[in-house]
Symmetry: C2
Subunit: 209 residues, 2 copies
């Protein structure tokens, strides 16, 4: 029977092979910050810039996660935890597939973010999108702070629920002090320094970007 | 204040931009078949070949999904359904990110697979990994059929639980009639015909592969 060897072991594609092919490591930039701090704007602008520079890059945000993978979850404490847990695990897988994943969720609790870090291992980079509450409330791009102040939204981060700022993030970007393009510049610089293929790892020298 | 424009809308990276960059569409090859039909062997061999041909490709299987994203799920009927639902949603996202996703799960129920198809839309390609039960039981690579026959595993697909074969799969690969390399050849041919960048869509003509 010809097919008896169908179960022989074949090696899969290694992380290193993806790294050399893409010219960069896969990894997760985990954006955390208050509602209105600028996470989505930064993530989307950064995705555009990184893509144009040749990176394999993708944004995970409420739009594509809450309506799909996590559409069975509500906003109870347990469901919010599970929401972040799954995002961490999915980001870890996409990073292993070679992508630079930009996750943009408030993710207010340190324990939830630490769990995502554990799932992703060394590929995890916490990016604190920093803006004070007063500024975020003034921006209020979705009108959520107004509703939260009226009590129409319960457990709203910064108003009626805590935000635990990162204690030791890999990168902090202050969106009050800097404009969008400057914020993106800083993030790109960080990605280049931490994700790019090292000359020593490249068969034909460093890739130009 | 400089940061007041932080919420201006920026366009994200389009599916088409990823398609042109990668030289192929993102999409999901959903391998379904009995335990021992050769799904994992085909998926891993196919991943290797497609990677060497320049594709962005990644395998989702029990190893990387059950220990991570779905580590909260057991083997009850509800949990098995939820397992496949999440895999479908995750595969859909990775396909949107531009990857060719090879998912390798028994996924015995038509309704579960149809739900994955709905999540993925046009990017979904069902690949029936076909082998008769007697052959799979003879191969029994993990010794599971022996245990199932002894009653040590309950609800085992093909023995004590149904396998609903695809009625109209995009591709059928018969792993009894063909050896591993031939099976991979057929799958590669399918991917080339259905995922590759069309000449008309490419600014500089068709990509060579």
């Amino acid at each position: 029977m010809r097919a008896t060897n169908i179960f022989r072991v074949e090696h899969s594609v290694s992380d290193d092979a993806r790294y050399v092919r893409n010219g960069h490591h896969g990894g997760v930039l985990w954006l955390t910050g208050l509602s209105g701090s600028g996470k989505s704007t930064l993530a989307i602008g950064l995705e555009r810039r990184l893509f144009d520079l040749g990176y394999q890059v993708y944004v995970l945000d409420g739009d594509n996660v809450r309506h799909g993978l996590n559409n069975d979850l509500g906003f109870s404490q347990a469901d919010r935890e599970e929401n972040i847990r799954r995002i961490g695990e999915m980001a870890a897988l996409m990073a292993r597939a070679g992508m630079v994943v930009l996750s943009a969720f408030i993710s207010p609790y340190r324990t939830d973010r630490e769990r995502a870090r554990t799932a992703c291992g060394e590929a995890f980079h916490e990016l604190y999108v920093k803006a004070d509450l007063a500024t975020c409330e003034e921006r209020d791009p979705k009108g959520l702070y107004v509703k939260a102040r009226k009590g129409e939204i319960s457990d709203f981060t910064g108003i009626s629920a805590p935000y635990e700022a990162p204690e030791n993030p890999e990168l902090t970007i202050d969106t009050v002090a800097f404009d969008v393009e400057e914020c993106i510049d800083r993030a790109v610089e960080y990605v280049r320094a931490n994700f790019d293929l090292k000359k020593a790892d490249h068969p034909h020298g460093q890739r130009d970007r």
